[in-house]
Structures are given as C-alpha cells and as structure tokens.
Symmetry: C2
Subunit: 486 residues, 2 copies
C-alpha cells in the first residue's frame, strides 16, 4: 500500500445530510427486508467460500459510495444470510428482534457512550439497574435479585458469559475470597446435568477449575437433572475431600427444553453451601406470564439466574439479563481499580460500576433497547405474544401426537417440540435435509435417548398459526415422498 | 401484577409503517444530536440517583407510544449522558463512532442473525474473515495473521476479552494441550509491565492462573517495559521450576501511551517458548499510516495481537480486532461441539466457526460496520483523519512545552498528551475538576512518577484544531484563575 501526500479535502466523514439520507434509506431497506423475508429461503444455500470469492482481495484505497455498499449487501451478503428473522425459522432457538428494539440499538450506537463505570455516563448505568429491577418484577423474581436488596441485575452479552461470571464468583466465595492468588484450588467441583448447555463446560475450562472437576449428572426420563444422582455425587466428593462450589441448573435445556427441579436442587445447595446458578436462557422469558411462573419455583434458593431477552423477548442480540442475590460477591471477584478509572462517584460508594459485574471492561448502552421493548409492548403485550408462541407449539405437538407416523420425543412444556418420524435415524436425517434445502422452513436436530430427533422451536416475532401449519403440512408431505421413494 | 384475559388485539408488534416513521425520526434525532453535541456539557452533571428518581418504579402494564419514549430520552436520559461523541471529549480514550459505522450496526440489528457457527449465516463469518484480512493488510501485519496462513482474525467485544482469550490459549499450549482437566497448573507464570491495562490482571485471575503468578515488570523512564527486569524475572522463575507461559506487551499504554519494545520482548519469548500477546487497543490504529508502523516492529514474533477500531478507527463499540498466528491453538482451547450444533459444514472442516475463537457462544454480525467504515473512508481517508489527530496532539504538546507553567509528563508519540501544571498534585486536581465542571471539555487523569497527571486524549471523530485550541486556552485561563485565587 503506497501513500501519496496528495491534496487532502477537509474531511472524509459522512456529512449530516448524507447520514440522514442513507439512514432513512437503511430504515426503509430493513422494513422492506422484514416484509419480504418470509419468501426468502430460510437457510442460506451458500457454499463455503461463496461470499469471499465475490469480494476484492484488498481494501479500497479510496472511499466508495454508500449506494455501492448497499448494492453489495443485496448481491453478495443477502444470499449468505440464514434468515433468523423469518417467521419460518424454527431452528436452534429464536432470536426475535422487533422494531422498538432495533431502534433502541440504533440510539445506543448514536450516543456511542462507554458504560464501564457510572461516571462515564450515569444514565447508561442507572437505566440498566432500573430496567433490570422491572424485569425482576415482571418475572416474579424474589426481592434479593433487585437492586433495592443485596443483589441486582446486569446485562451481559450472553448466557455463556453470565454462567462464567457466576462460576467465578462461586469459585471466590468457596475459596473464602483468598483470591485464588496462587492459582485455582484444584479441589473445587462443579455440577450440571448431562443435558446442560455446553457453555457450562466451557466456563469450567476457562476458570481453571478443570473439566475433570465437572460432574455431569444423570437425567430422568424427561431429561431433567436426577436429584439422587446429584446428591450422591456431591456427598461422595465431600467425603473424598473435594469442595463442591457450583451447581448449574437449567430451566429449559437447549436440546429438549427440560426443566430441572429448582426447589430440590436449591435445598441441597443450601445444605452444602454451594452456589446455585439457574440458566433460563430461552425459557426464562415464559415467567413473564404468571401461569408459567411455577417453572421458577425454587429460584429463591438460587444465588444467580439468567435469561436472554435476545432469544424470546423481542430484543435483538445481545441482551442477557443476569441477576445475583449478593452483588458484593461479584464485585469482590471481578473488581480492579486502576488510577485512570478513579473518580469521586466510585469512591463515594453511592453508585454501581458495572465493569465489576462482567468479564470485559467496556460496555454499550444496551438497556435502551430493553427499555424500549418493555415500554412499547407493555407487560400485557409481551404476555400476549409469549402465550401465542406456546399455544402454537402445543398445537404442533398435538398434531404430532395425532399422527401415527410421528412421535414426540420429550415433553413440550413451552415453545419447543422435539419429535421424529418413526422411520428411524437415517429417515429423519434425510427428512431434515430435504426440509431445510426446500428453503421453506429451517429446523435443526438433537439426539434424545440416542435417537436422531427434530426440534421445532417456535418464537420468531412474526410466526403465526399459518407458518406453523404450513410447516407441519410440509413435514408430512416430505416424509410421505421420502417413504414412497424407498 | 395481575393478568386479565381481556380481548386481545391481533398483534402488539410495531407495524412496518410505524417502524419507517419512527426509524426516520430516530435517524434525524441522531443527526441533530451529533450536530448539537458540541454545545452540550461534555461530562454529565447528573448526581447519583437522578435518573432513577424520574422513572416509574414498575414496568407499564400497557404499551406506550414511541413519542412518549423519545420525550423521556430527551428529558431524562440526555442529562445523564457523558458525551463521548462530543469533539470536546478528551477523556480516557476516544470512542469515535461515524455515520457508516452506525448504519452498519443498524443493518446488523435488522438482519438479527446469530454468527456462532458458519452455518448459522455464512456471510456473517466470511465477511468477518475477509475484512480482518483487509485490516491485517492495512496495518502491515505479517502473513501469519491472515486466514490464508495458519492464523487469522476475529472480532471480539473488547481488548479485555481478546487478552483473556490469548491467555487461555497460551495456558493450553504451555500445558501441552492436556486441557488442564484436573485444574489449572499452578506453576504457570505471566508477565506484563506495571503500566499494562488492568484487564491483564483480571484475565490472570479469571483463568485460575492466580495473581501471585503474574509478575508486574518494571518500566523505564518512558514507562515502557524494562527488558532486563523481564529477562531476570523469566529466568529466575524457570530456575525455581515455574513455567513462563504468557507475556502481554503494550503498544500504547492506557495511562501514558508508552510503547513496549516488541522486538526485544519477542526474542525473549521465542527463546523460552512463551506466548507473546500485544495489546494495541487504541494505538494499533496508527499502523494504518506507514510512518507509524515502526511501532509494531517485532509483531512478527508475536502469537497474538489486538487493537480496537471502536477506539480510534471510527467504528462504534464493540469492535476489537484480534489476530492469532496459529488458529489451531485457539480452537483446541475453546472448542466444544454439542450435538445440537453439529452440521455438515463444520464436519467438512472447510469453514470457520467463530464460536471457538471467543468466550461466549453467540455473536452479532459486527463485521458489517467495520466493512462499511473501511469502504466509506477508504484507506486514505482513514490515514488522513488519524494523521490529523496526531498532528493536533503534537500541537498541543508543543504548547505545553512552550509554557513555563506546564510540563509534559511522558513522551507523546501519537494522540495522547500527558501533562500537568507545575503547581503540584492538589492544584492539578482542582484544575481538572474545574475544567470538567465547566462542561466545555472533559479530561481525565492518571499518576506518572507518582504525580497527579492530566491526560489529553485526542481522537474523537469531529475534533478539529479549534476544539484543541479552545481546550488549551481554557486550561491556561482556568489555571491562572486558580493561581490568583490562592
């Protein structure tokens, strides 16, 4: 790259007028995209390398027009998008964005503030604390998870990071806040079910506790943690001089939406002074509806709880709500105060500095989008749409049950239905591939009881009855065609 | 919260028409904000609790209008904002957003895809790999940091997370990929200078290596790592059976913008098989200009390097570019493949799954905004603005040097000037507070040679000569007033 000292214009920045023009166009582009996404192939049909082939190998020396960039978005980026915002997206878990949320994200980018400490933008910290108190109220969480008590909430990027943060806090508490200065205590042990999310194992590895010290507890026939096996493991470990420090329970496992029994796990944790963390990444949202709140029975025994509005509460990624019952433990675990961050507000102790509640130092103003979502929908609006998703899933499950070619593979307590065709593993893999290649819908799979199982996850913002009905018709029809082909 | 099963309307979602209307209004709001931000008090004059007092204690049962929400933004949020986008923001480090970047963020939110694995949106992964190769080219990084070689780049949320990720990879490499399954090896040792960012110590604590195993190396008179002290420490540790695994060198320390000698550190690291990570969070951007690229001499000896376009390259937070020389090490460190994420593309080995390059599983489509920025400005446009910031800082430093009331406290190689009034610590604290309370500019402080020092950090997108000149006039005038008051 050679530089010529040519005559430079005053500025290469986008002018205010251009920002308005291109900004309006971008808003319209997104509105059109959302309107048309239903008819696009849900799963990208792109092959490895397709996009990279279409891009120039070197960055441009001179600036290009925004119109050129948007042309490339349409021609080259769009075919490589798997449309998470399509109402026909039934894969993995939902990532259900919404208008107010996206506008909140936009405003946050416009402010461009760093919320690492209170002083760097008081509103960024205070709105987050306040909205997380609202969320605690909305979910019926006990008082200790609110900022008015000893605890409080914080927005993390993901449930993975929330689990890691909780694990680190438990590690320090179990080490009596020695700081593990000479390296992690190798006697600490951690427990989660064999159906828990892979992020728990990742956290155990990251923390230096070591994967041998993670005990994967058996599950019962509904894929929920087997309390007897947990109790056996904890007690055996104590007897051999290990120090159980952390149990991660799940409300809605990724694989099959299984619900661990929080009350029973919580009692055991209290008895042995073990940190109980609850991962309710997708399903925690259900507690916004009182009729589903029983799934959180026992949460009052937990030390921490997290769920992701960026999955099923109409808030675009990233927005994980992480609540702790004792914020002091978290702060003692992660606080470092270098000179260049010292300030009067911090020293006064009257404010929250969220940098001490998370792994990174820097943070965006993510509370804005969550605030916008809650205010736009109101609690009743959120309840309406969550209920509707659950109803759709229950309808789908009823169709499966009524069809003698298909079977349910796990209970469907909320919005995820695990099922399979009775034709065997190979048949279901062929069925899944055919469905996804059709572009009309996108499903993913798991293994339950060692059998290849399809997952129908219902929660995209705009998914209506007709999308679920069409999906079911297509599944039946495609299965029929595969069967006839044989 | 009580629920009434009232007649529910079909949908509480924001209509397409409303999204267009409110979206256009939001774009205009941001354009107006940017235009007017120069005249707002830079540092928020808000007191702890001010915002929370103005917000209702409970979430709304019913949805509210977007207009109401924006009214609250203006009345209650705005006074609690410290304006990082003001051209009079000279505190901490810049966070210089730009039009194309904010529109990229908006588009990313509109797509709302999860980029955890290639298959969940191929374009999200491929654009990131491609743009990071561009960035490597723009900075003159050696071939090993590109995806065409053994390494490659990835976007992390922050330099904190990049450093932690690098440390974890070094921990596994030094443990011969045993996985530290029985807990972290307590003999590992880590080195960084006493001037390095606090995130290094935080990473050491998180990783379970333990803060006693972090050696804070002395610095020379320019606050750069003292190679002799580093050598002494490494060799002494080896002799006592410790296993040095990681050195974090800094290009542009947070406190004073000191530059560690990468070549000398790199040679020592090669000799003892130690992972060399380079944290160039703000100053790495300077390497876009060939005349500053010498600061990275020795980077070819490093195992990893990171810098933040979200600081000084016109890309809104979060966007840290993290490069590794051997991606295999990273993947072996962080990879976990549960059944529900299995897919043909991953099994084929032909694609990158970025979830294995970072702590969390989920990830946004952050490459879009970086792509937009590079294409909008072109390499020459970026160079122009980076050079201008450096020129402004050099001018400011010259004014300080020419004034017998003030003194420079450290070399100013780029865009940060560390200085103080000769009136002593107390005087400078009073000066800083008076300046920040004026609302006309915002500076922060550090301690150098144990003296209270002011930091003038120049890099906001719209900072021009007149802002720096006005700041200097105000600093002189305010200092004069304080002196006369005595």
């Amino acid at each position: 790259m050679s530089i010529k000292k040519t005559e430079t214009p005053v500025s290469f920045h986008m002018s205010t007028e251009d920002f308005r023009k291109q900004g309006h166009a971008m808003i319209d582009w997104i509105a059109d995209y959302w309107k048309g996404v239903e008819s696009m192939p849900v799963l990208s049909q792109s092959k490895p390398g397709d996009l990279r082939k279409s891009l120039p190998p070197a960055p441009p020396e001179q600036g290009e027009s925004f119109d050129e960039m948007m042309r490339d978005v349409e021609q080259h980026i769009l075919p490589g998008i798997t449309h998470w915002q399509s109402p026909n997206f039934f894969a993995f878990f939902p990532c259900n964005a919404s208008g107010p949320s996206v506008l909140g994200e936009l405003l946050s980018a416009g402010f461009g503030v760093q919320g690492m400490i209170w002083a760097t933008s008081p509103a960024c910290t205070e709105l987050e604390t306040h909205v997380l108190d609202w969320v605690a109220e909305m979910l019926g969480l006990p008082e200790q998870f609110k900022s008015s008590g000893k605890g409080g909430g914080v927005i993390q990027d993901s449930a993975s990071s929330a689990s890691l943060t909780a694990l680190l806090a438990s590690r320090e508490r179990s080490s009596k806040f020695s700081g593990n200065t000479q390296g992690c205590d190798n006697n600490l042990t951690v427990y989660t079910s064999s159906q828990a999310h892979s992020s728990i194992e990742k956290a155990v590895r990251i923390s230096g506790i070591g994967s041998d010290n993670l005990k994967l507890i058996d599950v019962d026939e509904n894929f929920a943690m087997d309390i007897e096996d947990l109790t056996r493991n904890v007690e055996a470990d104590i007897q051999t001089g290990k120090r159980p420090c952390f149990v991660a329970a799940t409300i809605g496992t990724t694989s099959s939406n299984a619900m661990d029994s929080l009350s029973e796990i919580g009692e055991l944790c209290r008895k042995h002074d073990i940190w109980l963390h609850i991962d309710g990444a997708m399903s925690g949202t259900a507690a916004v509806c009182p009729e589903f709140r029983h799934l959180l029975d026992g949460v009052e025994l937990a030390d921490s709880f997290c769920f992701n509005p960026h999955k099923w509460m109409f808030t675009n990624f990233d927005c994980d709500c992480f609540f702790v019952a004792d914020r002091g433990v978290l702060i003692r675990t992660l606080s470092i105060l270098p000179e260049y961050l010292r300030n009067q507000a911090t020293e006064s102790g009257a404010v929250i500095d969220y940098r001490d509640w998370q792994i990174p130092l820097g943070r965006r103003f993510r509370a804005l989008k969550l605030w916008f979502v809650i205010r736009h929908y109101g609690v009743q609006g959120l309840q309406h749409h969550i209920r509707k998703h659950v109803e759709l899933a229950q309808q789908f499950a009823a169709w499966i049950e009524a069809d003698d070619q298909f079977e349910l593979m796990a209970p469907a307590p909320l919005n995820l239905v695990c099922f399979r065709h009775k034709g065997g593993d190979k048949f279901n893999q062929v069925l899944l591939d055919a469905l996804n290649q059709s572009g009309k819908l996108y499903l993913t799979h798991t293994k339950l009881h060692d059998k290849f199982t399809l997952r129908m996850s219902i929660g995209q913002t705009n998914t209506e009855f007709r999308h679920v009905e069409q999906a079911w018709q297509r599944i039946r029809k495609t299965a029929g065609m595969i069967k006839n082909r044989k």
